[in-house]
Amino acid sequence: MSLVEITGLTISFGGKPAISDLSLTINKGDRFGVIGESGSGKSLTALAITGLLPENAEVSGAILFDGAPLPQDEKAMARLRGQRIGMVFQEPMTALNPLMRVGDQIEEALKLTGHDGDSAVAGLLEEVGLEARHAERFPHQLSGGQRQRVMIAMALASAPDLMIADEPTSALDVITQRMVLDLIREICDRRQMTLIFISHDMRAVAALCDRIAVLRGGKLVESGAIKEVLSRPAEAYTQKLVAATRMAPRQGEPHVADKTLLEVDHLTRAFSQGGFWRWGQQPLLAVNNVSFRVSAGECLALVGPSGCGKTTLARMIVGLDSATSGQVHLEGTSYRGSDLPPARRADLSLVFQDPFGSFNPRLSIAQSLGEPLRLVPGLDHGEHEQRLVDAIESVGLERGMLARFPHEFSGGQRQRLAIARALVTRPSLVVLDEPVSALDVSVRGDVLDLLAQLQNQFGLTYIIISHDLDMVAAMADRVLVMEAGKIVEEGKPAALFAAPQHRLTRALMQARLPDVAA
C-alpha cells in the first residue's frame, strides 16, 4: 500500500529543470532514503511532497498522498501537512523561531492539529530525550542536538503518518549526529511511522533505511531495497558513491624522520567572556596547556568534537591568533602566534575548510595565489609567474585558469586552488582544517589522493584537523584526540581506533556509523 506515489515529477525554475521526470513510490511503513549530492534535487523532492515549493517553481507530474492527489487549496494543503506529515530540517538554529520559547513552539504545533496542552508538550519532550524544563528555554539557550530534538518533538506533535527528515544531522557534530539518528530510528519503530530520510551520507542512509533512491542532477539514478543497491549497485554513479564511503587505511610505512619540525610548548588560549562588563566571568580556556611535537615529514591528525579547541590551536600555530601563555617553536624560531615573523610565515600555510569563502570574489586566481608570495622576497616577475604556474599545475589544474575568477570553479576545484595557494611559498608545514568536509562525497577521495601525493612529492609535513575518523585513519601517521582544550589521548591510528582508552575516543568510535557493506 503506497503512502506517497510520485509519477513523472518535473520541477523547473525559469525554464531550467531542477528535477526531471522523477517517479518514486514510498510504501506505508517504509524507511525510505533519498541520497544525492548538492544540486541533485533531493530537498526539492521533499518540498514538493509537502507543498512547500517556492512560488516561482513550475511543476508538472502527479503526487499522490495516501491515494489522493495533493490538495490545490493552500489552506487544505497546510492542514494536510500539519496533520499527517512531520518535517525535520537541516539547520535547527534557523528552523526555530528565535523569539519564542521552544515549549510554546511545540504547543503551537499541537494546537494546530486539535490536540491541547502542557502535558502533551512534556510527553513529547520526554519522547525525544529532553526534560520538561527545556520547554521554558529559547532556541539559543539550547545546544544544536537539543534544538534538533525539539524539531523532532514538533514534527511528532500531530502523530503524523509520514516523517520527512531533510539532512537532519549534517549540522551536528559526530556524537550528536549518531544520537539523533538513533532517536529517529527508535521513534519510527515505536510509532510504526513512514520515514523519508534525505541525506548526502551513504552510511547514515544505510544505517537507517530499508529502501533507497539515488538522485543525481534532478534525475533518478536507481532505486530499490537498500541491501540490493549497496551490495550490487547497477549504475556507475552509485558504485562511485558506495566506494567513496570506504576509505582504505593508509598503506606503507609512516613517513617520519627523527628531526622535530614544530614543537608546541604548554600552549594556552583564554577567551574572556564578553567585553566591557565582564566582572566575575571566568575566562574560557579554548586551549588549555597543550604540548606536542611534530616531526619533519609526519602527518599528524588532531581530532575532537566541535568546540574542543582544535581549530583555535591550529590558528595559533599558523600565526592567526596569539596564545595567552606558552610558545610554539618552529626550527629555532619561537613565537606565541600572531608575532610569527614574516620571514618564517612562508614556511607555514593553512588550507581552509570552506572552499567558497577562501577566495576573494573580486580578485583573479593569479592575484589570490600570488598573495602569499610577498613573504618570499627577491622574486622577479618571471620567477613569480613560474611559482604560480608550478603551484596550479601541481594540483592538477591548468595554467590558463590563473586568469579566471573564483565563481568560475566548482567546490572541488576551489579546494585544489586553496591547496595550490598553500604550496606557492614552498612551505615545510601545511595545516589542513577539515580539508574535505565541505566537499561532495564523490570528490573527497580525489582531493585526499592529491594531498597524499603532494606530501610524498614535496616531503611536506601535515597537521590535519578533522572530526572524520575514517579520513584520519586513511591519512595520518599519528592522532591526537582533543576535548575541552586538552589532549586526552595520543597514538597511531590503527592502534588507537582498535583499542580506544579515553571516554571521548570511545564515544567517537561508537558514534561511527557502520560500513555500508556490513
Binding site: 512547500l52 501537512r81 496533520q83 506529515i85 530540517f89 528552523a95 523561531n97 503551537e108 539557550q141 567572556q273
Partner: protein, 322 residues
C-alpha cells in the same frame, strides 16, 4: 532560570550609555557655543558694544569663571530645572521652552502615532501579497511618499483641506487652556504633513523586513506544522520583522522632531522652531544652547527607549554582553 538579572543588567548598561552620550553631547554644545565664539558677551552684544556693557554682561553670565566651572554650573543648573536667563527676552529659558514644547511635543507624538498606525499595517499587507497588484500599488505610493518633503506636503494639505474644502484652519494655534478642541484641530494638518511621508518610509521598511523574514527557515517550519503562508507570516514573521523596524522607528523620531521645526513654519505654529530662529537671529546663545540640548535629550531618550524595547522583544540581546 534567567529571570530579572540579565534584563536588569541590560537596562543598566543602556541607561549608562545614554547618560554618557548626553554628557558628551552637552560638552560638544558647550564647546561650540561658549568657547568657540571667544567672548560670548561680545558675540551677543555685537562689535559696537561699549566695554562697560560687555563687562556687565560678562559678570551677569558668570563668564569670568573658568570654563569647567561654567560647564558644571550649566549642567547642575539644568538638573535643578534652571536653564539660565534669555539674553534678549530677559525671561527664564526653562519657561520659554516649556511653553513652546506644549506645541512641538504633541505634534511630534501625533505624527509618530499616525505614521505607525498607517505605515506598519500597509507594510505587512504589501509583504503578505508580495509580487501581486496590491503590493506594487502600495510600493509605488510609498516610493512617492518617501520623496515628498513634509513641509511642501503641508502646503498641499492646506490648499486642499483649509482653502478649498475649508474643513480645517490653515494655520495658527489656539493655546490648549483656551480651547483644547481648537488646539487639536490646529494640529491635524501639521501632524498629517509630518506623518504621511514617514508612514511611507515605515511601510517600505516593514515590507522589506517581513519579506526578508519570510524566506527564513522558521517560517518554513511553521508552514510544515500546518499553517498557510499568511498564518506563518502573521504569527512568526511580524514579531521578528519588528526588530529592524524598531531601529528605524528610533531614527524616525529624530527626523520628526527635526521635521516639526520645519513644518511649524508652514502652519505658523508657535513651537520650538520659531523660538530657536528668533534666538539665532538675536544671537541669544543661552537660549540656543538650552533648546539644542533639549532636542538632543529627546532624541537620545528615544534611542534609549528603542534599545530597551529591543531587549524586551529579543531574548538573545538581553544576554549578550557588549
Amino acid at each position: 532560570m534567567w529571570g530579572s538579572h540579565p534584563m536588569t543588567l541590560y537596562i543598566l548598561r543602556r541607561v549608562f550609555g545614554f547618560l554618557v552620550t548626553l554628557l558628551i553631547a552637552a560638552a560638544v554644545i558647550f564647546l561650540l557655543l561658549d568657547l568657540l565664539p571667544g567672548d560670548p558677551a561680545r558675540f551677543i552684544l555685537g562689535i559696537n558694544a561699549t566695554p562697560e556693557a560687555v563687562a556687565a554682561l560678562r559678570l551677569q553670565m558668570g563668564l569670568d569663571d573658568p570654563a569647567i566651572v561654567r560647564f558644571s554650573n550649566w549642567l547642575f543648573g539644568m538638573l535643578r530645572g534652571d536653564f539660565g536667563l534669555s539674553q534678549t527676552q530677559k525671561l527664564p529659558v526653562a519657561g520659554l521652552i516649556a511653553e513652546r514644547m506644549s506645541v512641538t511635543l504633541p505634534l511630534t507624538l501625533f505624527a509618530m502615532v499616525i505614521s505607525v498606525a498607517i505605515g506598519l499595517p500597509l507594510g505587512i499587507l504589501a509583504a503578505r501579497h508580495r509580487g501581486k497588484l496590491i503590493d506594487t500599488a502600495l510600493m509605488v505610493l510609498a516610493q512617492t511618499g518617501v520623496a515628498i518633503p513634509n513641509f511642501w506636503f503641508g502646503m498641499l494639505l492646506t490648499l486642499l483641506f483649509a482653502v478649498t474644502l475649508r474643513w480645517l484652519p490653515p494655520g495658527g494655534f489656539t493655546p490648549w487652556n483656551e480651547d483644547a478642541w481648537a488646539s487639536l484641530r490646529g494640529l491635524v494638518l501639521p501632524s498629517l504633513a509630518l506623518a504621511l511621508p514617514q508612514a511611507a518610509i515605515l511601510a517600505r521598511v516593514m515590507r522589506t523586513a517581513l519579506v526578508d523574514v519570510s524566506t527564513q527557515d522558521f517560517i518554513r517550519t511553521a508552514r510544515a506544522k500546518g499553517m498557510t503562508f499568511g498564518e506563518a507570516l502573521w504569527r512568526h514573521g511580524v514579531r521578528n520583522a519588528l526588530l529592524p523596524v524598531l531601529t528605524i522607528l528610533g531614527l524616525q523620531f529624530a527626523f520628526l522632531i527635526a521635521g516639526t521645526i520645519i513644518v511649524e513654519n508652514v502652519f505658523y505654529l508657535p513651537g520650538l522652531g520659531r523660538l530657536i530662529f528668533t534666538a539665532i537671529s538675536e544671537r541669544d546663545l543661552v537660549l540656543v544652547r538650552s533648546a539644542t540640548i533639549i532636542l538632543v535629550l529627546v532624541v537620545s531618550f528615544t534611542m534609549l527607549v528603542v534599545d530597551l524595547a529591543y531587549g524586551l522583544v529579543d531574548p538573545r540581546l538581553r544576554e549578550r554582553r557588549i
